[in-house]
């Protein structure tokens, strides 16, 4: 290590940042030593992202001091941060899909750094085990490969501090392990890494030190290798991890049947769905796992009716062909859908909760001869707020003013409150805090108990394994056969997520034995 370990590479003192209506960071202190992998752990909304934005010069703190290698300074913008040697890999990538890897990287570098770029990309990527072809265009690449481009782009600037924001949320379990190897190599060369996550197992295997944030404040510092998942969770949420109650399934007749579903993508970089078939029966939860961008978006649009198809019998709902019907017509036949985007899809940001309740519940006695029955809609919204413990000032609260988790609870409550026969949920707990996640998962399990057919499409493998009865994997627009969860393993699903067919998986298993 080049620097003396006594001087932290980065030291934050009393960082405070206030946004309208919320104190995002409250007197946060943080030290990152050279060559250290330092976890910043916290639930969604704990202030992790804000803190990283302050370090990277995207946001300005209202108070507090940033010291870089012992020197107090002001990070005015990301260009200044990069000059200091701070690199950041964002959770949502900032790449131009129509350009090549080399072009995307060139855009981020200063002119002097772009000489022999292709060769340097190859060198760096092979040294850190991040294989990349500089001439490939981004739109042909998987999400994991795109993340490699982002990482290589940072590494070419020889960072001394690398910030990784929830990097494994888009990776298969195997790809995550490969990323950890890369990060360990980097750290051993003296690069400091700030690793942001809410996944406790990852932090325990990877990180040297952890700073825990709760509601904008530092609530603890620890060596995660010496902690248990439960003790980390206590620091993170200030209580025990909630448990869900899972009873045996009483499976009935198939309620949602998909037969040879072929969908061409609307978007030139979308995924073509090829011959998908599966059933979801009354009283069971079927999960579809997969790395995002493998056809989930297209599948969900076709199932929900946001996209209609010419062949009506590709999708049947309780025996009735519905693929050519629009979303509202399918809802009238007992379908409910929780989309992954809350603002701008699941809810209208500028409207009140009452209006947002009416958004999908436009029958159920809320409309008489074309006119809205305001009192009934208000009652329905109030009922939803109460049943799911949504933190809001009331049915007149603007949807945008709610936190992500609270709005998601409201949307879940609204969909369940319509007593569906089939419920489809996309990433139901994405970006939702631990307590609300458990509540949402429990609500899905309760629905299954009542004989509703539930389909969950998610990237969170742990969650799927926890609540699903059967699990299928989508990769490159194709779906593996759904298997009972007990007969499969995270490893097998991980291989399928990477795009191998079931046949190849069987061969790999045979080889391993």
């Amino acid at each position: 290590m080049a620097d003396s370990p006594a001087v932290p590479r980065l030291a934050l003192r009393g960082i405070t940042k206030r946004y309208p209506g919320v104190l995002a960071n409250d007197r946060v202190d943080l030290d990152v030593l050279p060559g250290e992998i330092h976890a910043v752990l916290g639930e969604n909304g704990a202030g992790k992202s804000t803190l990283m934005k302050i370090i990277y010069g995207i946001a300005e703190p209202d108070a507090g001091e940033i010291r870089w290698e012992g020197e107090a300074l002001h990070v005015a913008n990301p260009a200044r941060a990069r000059k200091l040697g701070i690199g950041m890999v964002f959770q949502h990538f900032s790449l131009f899909e129509t350009l090549t890897v080399a072009d995307n990287i060139r855009l981020a570098l200063e002119r002097a750094q772009t000489r022999q770029l292709r060769q340097r990309i190859r060198d760096v990527s092979s040294r850190y085990g991040l294989p990349l072809q500089p001439a490939r265009r981004i739109h042909t690449m998987s999400v994991g490969e795109r993340q490699r481009v982002e990482i290589v782009r940072c590494l070419l600037q020889k960072p001394r501090l690398l910030i990784m924001d929830e990097p494994t949320s888009v990776l298969t379990p195997q790809a995550a392990l490969r990323l950890f190897d890369t990060l360990r190599t980097l750290a051993s060369e003296g690069c400091s890494i700030l690793y942001i996550s809410h996944k406790l197992d990852e932090i325990r295997t990877l990180c040297h030190r952890a700073t825990v944030l709760r509601a904008g404040r530092v609530t603890g510092q620890c060596d995660p290798r010496r902690e248990t998942t439960a003790s980390l969770a206590r620091m993170m949420i200030g209580g025990e991890l909630p448990h869900t109650v899972h009873r045996a399934a009483r499976v009935g007749a198939p309620a949602l049947c998909v037969r040879a579903l072929d969908v061409a993508p609307d978007d030139p970089f979308g995924t073509r769905l090829a011959g998908l078939s599966f059933d979801v029966c009354e009283g069971e939860i079927v999960g579809i796992a997969g790395v995002s961008g493998n056809g989930q978006k297209e599948l969900l649009a076709a199932l929900s009716g946001e996209r209609t198809l010419a062949r009506a019998d590709a999708i049947t709902l309780c025996g009735e062909p519905v693929a050519s019907l629009d979303a509202f017509a399918r809802r009238r036949r007992g379908l409910a859908f929780i989309p992954e985007d809350r603002l701008g899809r699941g809810a209208v940001p500028e409207m009140t909760l009452a209006d947002n309740a009416l958004l999908t519940a436009r029958d159920h006695g809320h409309v008489a001869r074309g006119f809205i029955r305001t009192r009934r809609v208000l009652a329905f919204a109030r009922q939803t707020i109460a049943a799911f413990g949504v933190k809001a000032s009331g049915p007149e609260a603007i949807a945008r003013s709610l936190s992500g988790g609270n709005l998601q609870k409201f949307i879940v409550g609204r969909e369940i409150g319509q007593r569906p026969k089939v419920l489809i949920a996309a990433q139901p707990t994405w970006g939702v805090d631990v307590g609300a996640s458990a509540q949402i998962r429990q609500a899905l399990l309760d629905l299954r108990e009542r004989g509703v057919a539930v389909l969950v499409v998610s990237e969170e493998l742990d969650e799927l394994i926890e609540i699903c009865d059967r699990l299928a994997v989508i990769a490159h627009g194709r779906l593996s056969p759904a298997k009972p969860v007990r007969e499969t393993s995270a490893e097998e699903i991980g291989v399928l997520m990477a795009g191998a067919t079931a046949h190849e998986t069987a061969a790999a298993e045979a080889l391993a034995q």
């Binding site: 300005e60 979303a327 701008g344 899809r345 209208v348």
Partner: protein, 357 residues
């Protein structure tokens, strides 16, 4: 120190109501400077602009008369605008409405048909003609994905030329000394006057009725709700199964119908015949009215009165103070500019922050 705009967590009620006052104050300040620089007494100019036009009963009647078409068209356009349907061609739809309603009046001629039958027939024909003209962009948009802003605007010129051909040719008054104008309508085809010795007619009542109906539709009807959703968040509308095609049709047809009614109101009201041009640009001014009124029926009613006052004030300033018409245009533009600028304060609040070190 620098000034920064910060998003408010919720729109401010106070700013919503005080924004127009703030804008008026700012306009008066700018007006004061402009009129002083021109060597005029600003107080006299303000008097000519805002007080003189409405100081008499006749003036107030004129104010309401000019506000009627603006109110009608603005209300119709706002129904579409709320759903992101951009009908810019109300001027053409107004022309077609005047043409159809006026055509009936001319066809009936001196025949003894009661007003109670003839006027509704004219208005229905006008509304249908306006809708027909608006249906063309709607069809092109839903079938061929042609941008309705362009198609509706281009059809304005087609409509104007069509009317111009009619009044120059087949519909020209044979006893009109070759002027391009139709015969003057018979008394049974003219709107009854509301206030004696003024030009204010029953068209104003029609405009108020349409505003009330639009309010009921937007606030209470499920289709109005669905169109509002589509305008605020197309993604949420698609998710909820709200048809964008239907919204385009409804939005365009509502604007077309109201503009058509306004066209008949002009033909059967203050004009009383068909001329090559039936409006001093009401169809375009109504776009501004719709936005100044924040696309809300009551707001549009108020905004149309303001716009009408600016029309009258501009004329009065030109006549009484010999101000060039460019100055009155500048004054109108300043007011609208400040009105829209002050609207930013509804959703944002200014904050002074210490400059970066």
């Amino acid at each position: 120190m620098k000034l920064r705009l910060e998003a408010r967590p919720e729109p401010s009620r106070l700013a919503l109501w005080s924004a127009p006052l703030l804008a008026t104050a700012a306009t008066l300040c700018v007006g004061f400077i402009v009129f002083t620089a021109l060597g005029r007494n600003p107080v006299a100019a303000f008097d000519a602009f805002f007080i003189a036009p409405v100081a008499t009963r006749y003036g107030i009647a004129e104010l309401l008369l000019k506000a009627s078409p603006l109110m009608l068209i603005g209300t119709g356009l706002a129904i579409g605008y709320r759903a992101n349907v951009w009908n810019i061609g109300a001027e053409g739809q107004l022309t077609l409405g005047a043409l159809a309603g006026g055509g009936i009046a001319l066809a009936v001629g001196e025949a003894d048909v009661p007003s109670a039958l003839l006027l509704p027939a004219m208005f229905i024909a006008g509304a249908l003609a306006g809708m027909l003209w608006a249906a063309i962009p709607a069809l092109l948009r839903t079938r061929c994905n042609a941008n309705e802003i362009l198609t509706s605007l281009m059809l304005v010129y087609v409509a104007t030329l069509l009317l111009s051909w009619l009044v120059h040719g087949p519909w020209r008054d044979p006893e009109g000394y070759n002027f391009p104008q139709s015969k003057i309508f018979a008394a049974n085809a003219l709107l009854p006057i509301l206030l004696p010795e003024t030009r204010l007619n029953a068209g104003f009542v029609l405009a108020l009725a349409v505003v009330a109906l639009a309010w009921l539709f937007v606030r209470r009807h499920i289709v109005g709700f669905e169109m509002r959703v589509a305008g605020l968040s197309p993604g949420a509308a698609n998710y909820a199964g709200i048809s964008w095609r239907r919204n385009i049709w409804l939005g365009m047809l509502a604007g077309g119908a109201c503009a058509g009614l306004a066209g008949v109101g002009e033909a059967a009201g203050p004009i009383g015949q068909l001329l090559p041009s039936m409006s001093p640009g009401y169809g375009f001014a109504a776009i501004i009215v719709a936005f100044v009124g924040r696309l809300h029926p009551a707001g549009i009613a108020l905004a149309s009165l303001l716009m009408s006052l600016l029309y009258l004030g501009g004329e009065s300033a030109q006549v009484n103070l010999a101000l060039p018409s460019a100055v009155t245009g500048l004054f109108e533009g300043t007011l609208l500019f400040f009105l829209l600028a002050a609207d930013v304060l509804v959703n944002y609040r200014p904050r002074i922050v210490a400059a970066a070190a």
